[in-house]
Symmetry: C2
Subunit: 159 residues, 2 copies
Amino acid sequence: MNIGELATRSGLSHSRIRFYERVGLLKTVDRQANGYRSYPPEAVVMLALIATAQQAGFSLDEIRALVPPDLVKWEHDALLESLHGKVKEIEALQARLAQSKAGLVALIKDIETKPDGVDCEDNARRLLSRLPSGEFARATTAAADVKMLGKKRRPARRG
Amino acid sequence: MNIGELATRSGLSHSRIRFYERVGLLKTVDRQANGYRSYPPEAVVMLALIATAQQAGFSLDEIRALVPPDLVKWEHDALLESLHGKVKEIEALQARLAQSKAGLVALIKDIETKPDGVDCEDNARRLLSRLPSGEFARATTAAADVKMLGKKRRPARRG
DNA sequence: CTTGACCTTAAACTTAACTTAAAGGTTTGG
DNA sequence: CCAAACCTTTAAGTTAAGTTTAAGGTCAAG
């Protein structure tokens, strides 16, 4: 399979596939006599795996560490463990989001049933002061922690 | 409150806070006689709000469009509207996370349900037939669509 | 035998979201 | 008075994850 066909099959761009090869996510591929890359059918699986892992929030660095270069001898146990770990992270975030949402919904209800005679700005202030020290702040830092799970901290920023 | 205290309180770096001001996420702040920035207590709430939205997967551009510039002057209606908006944001993230999780779980199941006696290469072929044309392709584009909500489409690329 | 669709490389460019550096002013404690 | 610990600005650097560009080779069709 040429790179064009792989690109169509996988839905990724030519440049992206070549890029993945360059950075070592794909092992160096066989070449035809003319120099064209010649991919085996498994390449589609590999790309699907990479793309799915990316979807799930893995960086290419993490993926490189996780996914063995050779699909044939991937280590099921380690891979599965990592994937399960990622699911746990997502679940933790989901739980926190559900809490935040519940808090917000409660807050909205509270505002809507505002007692007459209290003026708007005071009421807004009163209600707003509930947010930051409550679940909001904790959710924020906790979520930050979740995001860093298993990642070596980079010297500077994120993309 | 000086920027140092705000940094400690919010957990964000000085440079990051100044950066947010520069790019218009924070309204230009009051200055003391010596030129130092002087923040009101609400600034902590504002930063927490931004950080949370970021946690939720929103870009600074999206956040700029969603979060009202002045927290204190929220009036009743606007406050409610913003809170409802926040709930919508959370729901959007929940959808995103659910999708990520579904993708992961599907992948795990695919790997785990490998029948005994089937060797790895055959398993790879089995995955080949399941993943790419099935939920993988749809999930990928759907997630991309979610990601594009409310964004003007860039010429290409995703950083 | 040329046109267009394909493939090659290397290197430069892009974007987001910051950080770091350089060079300096201010405030506070000993 | 002096150092440490704050604060200021502008400008340039960094990272991830690619894309784009330039300058070609190759191949199938008409």
